[in-house]
C-alpha cells in the first residue's frame, strides 16, 4: 500500500535522525523530500495532531519523535555508536529497543542528582537499578506530554 505524504514525512524524520544523530529541521525535511516548507509544516502539524510526534510551540520544529528528543534532556543515551537525547526514563530505554541494539542510559536521580546508568538489550535490563515514577495517570499523559 502506498504511503501517505504524512507517513513519508514521518519515515524521513526517523531516517534523517538515524543518519545524522539529530532530529531534522523543517528546512532539512523540505530539502530531502523536495517540497515546500509549508507542506512540511502542514504535515508535521497533522502528525502532531495524531500524536505521532510533538512540535515546539513557537517554531513548529520537531521537539519529540518518541522516544527521541530534539533538545538536551536529563536522559542521555548511547546506542548504535551515537549519543542521543530521550524524553524520559521510559524513552531512554526505548531508543536501543527501537534501534535493535544494546544501549546505555546515562542520567541522575531526579530527587538528589546522584549519577545513575542502566544498560539494556532487547527486553532485558543488563545492569542498573532504580524506580521509575510516573506523575500522571495514563489517560492524562497527552494533556501535557512535555510535563509527562
Amino acid at each position: 500500500m502506498e504511503l501517505t505524504f504524512d507517513q513519508q514525512v514521518r519515515n524521513k524524520v526517523y531516517e534523517l535522525l538515524l543518519a545524522s544523530g539529530q532530529l531534522p529541521s523543517i528546512a532539512e525535511l523540505s530539502s530531502n523530500l523536495s517540497c515546500a516548507t509549508e507542506e512540511i509544516r502542514t504535515s508535521l502539524r497533522n502528525l502532531h495532531a495524531g500524536k505521532a510526534l510533538v512540535l515546539m510551540p513557537e517554531s513548529g520544529e520537531i521537539l519529540m519523535a518518541n522516544p527521541w528528543s530534539a533538545v538536551p534532556t536529563s536522559y542521555a543515551v548511547e546506542a548504535g555508536g551515537k549519543s542521543w537525547w530521550a524524553n524520559c526514563a521510559w524513552d531512554a530505554l526505548a531508543i536501543p529497543a527501537a534501534m535493535g541494539v544494546r544501549g546505555k542510559m546515562i542520567t541522575s536521580c531526579a530527587c538528589c542528582g546522584e549519577a545513575m546508568t542502566a544498560e539494556v538489550e532487547s527486553r532485558q535490563l543488563l545492569g542498573g537499578e532504580g524506580i521509575v515514577h510516573i506523575a500522571l495517570p495514563a489517560k492524562q499523559w497527552w494533556n501535557n506530554i512535555f510535563f509527562t
Partner: protein, 71 residues
Amino acid sequence: MLLFRSEEHIELWCEQWHQSRGGTMSLDTCAKLAFDWYHDRLNPNGRRKTPEEAKGIFDALGLSGAFWSLT
C-alpha cells in the same frame, strides 16, 4: 517519567515539588515496557497503538488498574 534511586527519593521529590504520588515501576519492568512499546517504531508502516493494544502491553507487565487505563 523520572528515574529515582529509591522509594524514599520519590516521596521527597513529590514533597519538594508539591506533586501527588503517581505510579511506579521497576527499571526492569520499564526496560520490558520500552521494548514492547517501541521495538517497531522504525517500521515504515508503523502506527500509533490502539487503546486495546496499549492495554494488552500494560496488562502483560502487571501495569493495571485505573492509573494505567487510557480510556
